[in-house]
Point group: D4
Chain length 170, copies 8
């Protein structure tokens, strides 16, 4: 089935606080460029625990395929979501507060056996979207092509931007 036929989101993006909007919108933007339908919400493991669990538990029946969860500090969001769904959950540690995201990285990636969170770099919301796209592309040829095109664009961008200053040592 082609991406354009979907009338519902395939990826659900969550963030623990509206302060994380700037970072997490980067995931939204990449998914949109790849024409992957998605939705974005603020839900906190600590301040809206019921709504967070409800979201996680109903995501599959709403035909969401991948969840992305970004949070800072003692970032429990991705782990709690992963504990309440069988969908793949991608975690984005966010650098808020004085520890520069080191706390969020540990709290996201160091999950105990049985409840995996696929963690990307601190503030790496773009890569969360690319990872979601790789998963969805396993079953979607159009998306696979879109990803390949985007990869080539990035490659060409580097090759044309390379400094040309060469100095042959006079």
């Amino acid at each position: 089935m082609e991406l354009r036929d979907h009338t519902h989101p395939l990826v659900g993006i969550l963030m623990g606080s509206s302060n994380d909007t700037d970072i997490m919108n980067r995931a939204y933007k990449v998914l949109s460029e790849l024409k992957i339908p998605c939705e974005i919400s603020v839900l906190s493991a600590h301040r809206t625990p019921d709504e967070t669990i409800e979201y996680a538990r109903t995501a599959e029946e709403r035909n969401i395929k991948v969840l992305i969860a970004g949070a800072g500090m003692a970032a429990h969001l991705a782990g709690i979501v992963a504990a309440n769904t069988m969908l793949p959950v991608i975690g984005v540690p966010i650098s808020s507060g004085p520890l520069n995201g080191q706390d969020a990285l540990y709290a996201t990636v160091q999950m105990p056996s049985g409840t995996p969170v696929a963690t990307v770099a601190i503030n790496g919301a773009e890569n969360a979207a690319y990872m979601a796209a790789r998963i969805l592309a396993l079953d979607n040829t159009t998306l696979a092509i879109n990803l390949e095109v985007k990869r080539n664009q990035k490659k060409q961008a580097i090759l044309t931007k390379s400094p040309k200053g060469k100095n042959y040592g006079m």
Copy 2:
């Protein structure tokens, strides 16, 4: 007994330096919103050791119930206070100096057995106040209700702030 009947502070907030005022006033503000009488002082474990110990030792007889102590760098304040009272002491590590509060976190939380300090996040003065409120609410129904109201406000704030941008991938 209702909170309004108290004519003396129930929580004593201490900070190791007047530079910490901006951070520690957040504890004062939360306590005030919850209508918990409190007082705030600058006392240093190193520069005013006698006054600090005197404060800690007389707090209980002055009917203070919980102490909050914030300090940066080699943050000894909370530990020294805890060594000189039997009241629960909440420690707030403060991020002053180049180590971003990592030093204050270790110096506050890694207390040896027998002298506990209930440590909150780096610069987490608000949570120090919420923890004090939870302790006081064990014995005060009005406060318990105030806390519940505040928690619901935070929850509603998140639920109404959630980005509504949903993209169904055309």
Copy 3:
């Protein structure tokens, strides 16, 4: 009311894995020495999320006054418990795995505003019990005396153990 009149636990000790039993039993032991009724359970934020939330939500009506939660790695247990009760929650970061508890410390202490966890040292289950005792002693004279007696014992233990080797430099 005296401690001996309680026919139900006042403190609930939770741990995220049965591997944490050795550490968390130290809290149980201190509470027992102080004659504070308590109960101890294994509940995981990730593997038994429903039971964990149920436990947290019903603790208050079961007349528990303080909760202690110990977990290792991406230690979400204390935070999730704190999000589902208004009782004071004390967190014990546990050193399991290669990061020596640094991950558990961050995941326990760096809680966002509104959901405090009173964190003690890595593996500091004894101090979690002492902190619970200080909170309960606010309203219990017998316990306050027990705590004072125990503190004096620790003090005397140090004073009598001090090495006596003095060398006057011949």
Copy 4:
């Protein structure tokens, strides 16, 4: 299509050194329990760069769906594999050497935008397998059921192992 019909591996497990076999075999074991066909190889980004790239580039045409790459120290393996395939790549940082896997964690998770690695905990090979299973289960009902069964087993294991020692404070 059912898992048993596959005559080729769906998951390729790579490790950077045969010293990592004990850790990475845990992924193999979990996948086998879930009846997911897989293969396991030692390939180094530094010592066998050609074979590593060849493996990554041909994985998709060999019908592999997910790659798992474990490495220690300056762990480049997962990143290099991710740069040479469009399949989802899961990275396992391994704690070899004096830095306890902190080096491998950073070298695996901190990938630049466009080349994502789904990182799990240090030595978290089991979760790498569970994440692979979650991805494959998006398209495989039998596997989804197997995962659910396994999750329930883990849950029951905790609930039956919970210490029963309750002390009502005589």
Copy 5:
């Protein structure tokens, strides 16, 4: 053979992203001051893997003697280059992102046995150039003299800049 007789670069400077240009140009500047012919390019281990490997494999036959590779975050560039050449490779960890280059340092320096990267300080592109110069000076007397002259200039700069404020304690 004198440096001025070279009509081709002796040092190839690579960087993983054009964002690193400001840092890596410092290497270019030092090499130019020492009259060492060099070239500078943007090549990414992840986004242009083929071109990076091609560059590394052909460097020796193009008479390049030393390679310098700078990259940030999960900095794989220097390691991948070192795996595809026998020339000495100098790695420059770059502080991009919230971890201040600690990630890049580990990803550059912690190379496994057999594929060495000569790592300099975070953002230490100047020292990468000086190290390249020391290597080239083993076989080039003019360069050795240039290096000695530059070292003496630095020494004199210190000795003339020393604060002269002396206070004899009135």
Copy 6:
């Protein structure tokens, strides 16, 4: 002998780079306030090794009593000075570069047995001066009094600055 009778410096302050002047002048200022004669110089363990060793070796015969050495990054200055004198050497780690002085702290404090460096806080040049003063005051009553006066001023400054906002919970 009184401080005013000295016609030569009693404390030598060294710094590894003129960039460290702002930090190290704080030591100079504190010593001047305490009327301790001192001198301040820029000398580098790496760029002026001969002059640094010469300075260290002749300090004692020039009647200097204490040396203070501040440096950033791989801060070798204090250690090299300590290796070439028997005078007490106080080390000041300086936060230059992306590691915030963590590198300088380790390079200054982790000295092997036999060559001690008395290390103060990162950027703690004032305390280096106070430590020098404590050492000199062992043999100088006037200085001991000056130190006591200064300590009392600091204490009074805190006691008068303490926030007076007290809120009794209406």
Copy 7:
């Protein structure tokens, strides 16, 4: 005055717990070898606060010249001692518990301005003794000679132990 004429200790060694005896006895041993009269005690900033402060305040009148304080975890001992004396205080961070002494290092060295602690390496009790000796040698020629002799012994030990295996590459 010669060392042998002292009938009282010149150095007081304190440790925060009798568990630290093995480490801190190394200071005692070095001082004894240098014929510096000293005494060693266990005193805790948290468990025996009165005795600790009393010790610090009376040390000077008992003719002690230098204090050495070793403690682990949230190591407050050296700082509290320094706050209650004008004698130079040398701090020894001790590696007890899972953070390997990193916590004790921060809690000892990151002292605020006005209350200096001369910190040595983690577990560096020997260097604490050598630093005390350097301070005492300012005023004691015999000790200065003893130190010089000991330094030469260490130097000779290295020069005679150097591996002689030289391989000229057949």
Copy 8:
């Protein structure tokens, strides 16, 4: 000129303490296998400063081409050697003491501009030897071939050791 014609060492290996012999002998062993004449000595920046500087200053005239220096803790050896020679200096941080070599890594790699140290992994003495070999091979065809042979052996070792367990999911 062929390696076998050398009657003097081309590489000088230094270590700061005889405790480092086990680690640093690995460099000696690799160099010997590659038939590179070398010598190995214990010299300390702190305990034998004169001999260390003398060694560094005379290395070039003794026809040594590359220096390798390994040290632990506040590892000043490589930096001091680099400050006293123009030869390329390779630094090996050694994990001695409780900080696992993190201290030695910072003290070795974070060198200021103008005095480069080519740092390898913590305890990475083998790679120090391989880096020395790469430098020497710039001018020595036999050595270049030896290196290539060794690299191929390592590659074959991996390819033959790869676990063959493949499970096709019954």
